[in-house]
């Protein structure tokens, strides 16, 4: 049986970029076709406000302006705020936000390539179909007509999983390359938690993904530990400033969640407003 014909090397090298570009174009086509972007209850209540307070911190002026949603992690809402204040049209704003969401396409393709690493047209077809199916979810598509941060917060987690699969595809005799990608995966996982705390329970599963890559038991344990440490670092990089602001102004770095859990810490440190 003759082996399947391989696709041109140039195409294979550029495939990831091509998939991303096509995915970005498809995402951007949504607000263009809809003539704008939808503002939801959440957008009316707190999305614009949260983007605003990044440039104009208002702890001293406002109090629960958007009720307790006013204390959510705000940074992912900065783009929609700037677009609104710049007088952008809904189409323009929607396209910008859709292009940001398209950062989810490359990691989906990377995982698809891990499942289908071959050079044949059939392998490429499966990869592409995998990416198409990845973004056919009704919920995922609905976010293209929304200013929510759900996809933005999921993108680092997607990259974390993708980088773990990238590492798993590296031969065992290249431990440094493996370590590099797993380290980045850990960092991305931490950023994901910083962007949205609800990613935390999902990130607890990532040590399994970090243990995928080939190596001895000792090497796998080392990778998991390193990635775990970098997860914490990534979390601090992404969330540290905001968590500190919440601590200073409310006595709870994850305010208003688990507020009672910080009573002892507030007492011990003599915190007061």
């Amino acid at each position: 049986m003759t082996p399947p014909k391989a696709l041109p090397t140039a195409f294979l090298r550029a495939e990831g970029w091509i998939v991303w570009l096509l995915g970005a174009a498809a995402f951007a086509a949504v607000p263009v076709a809809l003539g704008g972007i939808g503002l939801s209850w959440d957008a009316i209540n707190h999305h614009i406000y949260l983007g605003w307070i990044i440039e104009h911190p208002r702890f001293d002026r406002d109090f629960a302006a958007a009720f307790y949603q006013a204390y959510q992690y705000p940074f992912l809402y900065w783009p929609v705020y700037k677009l609104a204040m710049a007088g952008a049209s809904g189409v323009f704003a929607g396209v910008v936000l859709a292009l940001m969401q398209s950062l989810a396409v490359p990691p989906a393709w990377i995982v698809a390539r891990a499942c289908f690493p071959g050079d044949s047209w059939a392998d490429a077809a499966f990869r592409w179909l995998g990416v198409v199916i990845a973004f056919l979810g009704a919920l995922t598509l609905s976010l293209l007509d929304s200013t929510s941060n759900d996809m933005g917060a999921a993108i680092p987690l997607l990259w974390s999983v993708a980088l773990a699969f990238l590492a798993a595809g590296i031969p065992q005799d290249e431990p440094r390359r493996v370590l590099f990608w797993i380290a980045l995966s850990g960092l991305a996982a931490g950023i994901a938690v910083g962007f949205k705390l609800s990613n935390g329970p999902l990130v607890l599963v990532m040590p399994l993904a970090w243990a995928m890559a080939r190596g001895t038991l000792t090497q796998r344990v080392q990778r998991v530990v390193l990635a775990g440490v970098l997860t914490i670092a990534g979390f601090l990089v992404a969330y540290g400033y905001w968590g500190w602001q919440l601590w200073v102004h409310t006595g709870n770095p994850i305010y208003p969640f688990a507020d009672g859990a910080f009573d002892h810490l507030r007492s011990a440190l003599g915190w007061h407003r």
Partner: protein, 389 residues
């Protein structure tokens, strides 16, 4: 809140199939049918069965290690997902990775490449059909941002003030259009005991405190003033928070094209000539610290009935909180999307937010005597497996 958490083990097992149904509030608030998780799980079972069968014949299955790992990671990730919220918006990453996993599992099937690709196309066409019947776009939309500005209001007052909002929907998207040194305080649902002192301090020291509230078009009178009934209602809502609206005070009216478009989109059949009645009332208010111990409206006899209800299904009627007096009895809101009513005639009912009708729980005497039972698995609105809501 247990909005998306399965109620029983069977609900948990059926969740992937429930997600494929064109119903809202399954794994996300909106109608978002998604066949892919069900397809992936069926493929996992098929590939697993194939593997077991071929193992007996000392043959192999064409499933790669990454696909196996991806399947394991998905299944393991579903544990914390369902242990915490079951909310699809917090599981987006894995909903995306269903794509590569789906084709990875298809590859393991004992068919030609062409047939496998055809099966992948079937999955795509099926999901596209589902989407065509329930468009994902506009699901979250209250108002479309098309031409700028993103949300039109007339020019706000130039003088900074402290704006108090009372609606749970704060409309702070307009706040950046106000002077930067304005202040915004929301008192919609009350604040935690720890924050009460801070709220009191803010309001006590605030200058020029004003209520900022969306106007009710039917209650807009000459020069944009609220009707007496609207004033009375607003004053009643504000009073428990110590915010006092003098019913004779003059409010200003900030017209809003944004609010008009929300109203029209929501189905308000208002002629063009009345669209000018959409806007915000801005009314001077004063603040007087409410009593330290708010008058306790609750009645121990009433509390006993609610406690009896709460013992029936603690998962949906968690203990705690206070009932509120109404014209016809008492009402208590639970964080689980359920409201319990106790009418003056002693009848207790609950209403789940997605259900059309309330459901009678029982009479006061029956509840207190412990003679009422309730099937806690039937509190939510029935889904497709039970005949629909």
């Amino acid at each position: 809140m247990n909005r998306f958490l399965p109620d029983t083990w069977w609900d948990l097992l059926m969740r992937p199939f429930d997600m494929a149904a064109p119903e809202a509030n399954v794994y996300v608030e909106t109608v978002a049918p998604d066949v892919r998780l069900a397809v992936v799980l069926i493929l996992m079972l098929a590939v697993g069965a194939l593997w077991l069968w071929r193992r007996r014949a000392n043959a192999s299955v064409n499933v790669s290690a990454p696909v196996v790992w991806l399947a394991v990671l998905l299944l393991v990730s579903m544990v914390p997902w369902f242990a915490t919220t079951g909310n699809g918006r917090y599981f987006i990453a894995w909903l995306v990775l269903l794509g590569p996993l789906c084709v990875g599992l298809l590859r393991a099937l004992p068919f030609s490449a062409g047939r496998k690709l055809a099966l992948a196309a079937v999955v795509i066409v099926t999901q596209l059909f589902v989407l065509s019947q329930n468009t994902p776009f506009g699901q979250w939309t209250w108002i479309r941002w098309e031409e700028p500005p993103y949300f039109q209001i007339d020019k706000p007052p130039a003088e900074p003030a402290t704006y108090v909002t009372i609606a749970s929907l704060s409309y702070t998207l307009v706040a950046p259009q106000f002077p930067l040194d304005a202040s915004w305080i929301n008192v919609a649902a009350g604040v935690s005991p720890r924050d009460a002192a801070e709220l009191d301090k803010r309001l006590s020291s605030a200058h020029d405190v004003k209520l900022f509230v969306p106007a009710i078009p039917s209650q807009v009178r000459a020069e944009g003033q609220p009707s007496p009934a609207a004033r009375k209602a607003l004053a009643g809502l504000l009073k428990p928070h110590g915010v006092l609206l003098d019913e004779s005070t003059t409010c200003s009216f900030l017209r809003s094209g944004g609010l008009a478009r929300i109203g029209v989109r929501a189905g308000a059949h208002r002629p063009e000539s009345e669209l000018h009645k959409y806007g915000f009332w801005i009314c001077p208010v004063t603040y007087k610290r409410p009593p330290a111990e708010a008058p306790d409206e609750s009645d121990p006899a009433v509390d006993a009935v609610f406690e009896a209800v709460e013992r029936l299904c603690p998962r949906f009627f968690p203990a705690g909180g206070n009932a509120q007096k109404t014209n016809e009895g008492w009402i208590k809101h639970y964080d689980t999307d359920v409201i319990v009513y106790l009418f003056d005639d002693g009848t207790a009912l609950y209403k789940f937010w997605r259900s059309i009708n309330p459901v009678v729980i029982g009479k006061r005497d029956q509840l207190l005597a412990g003679r009422v039972t309730l099937d806690c698995t039937k509190i939510r609105a029935p889904n497709w497996r039970h005949g629909g809501p």
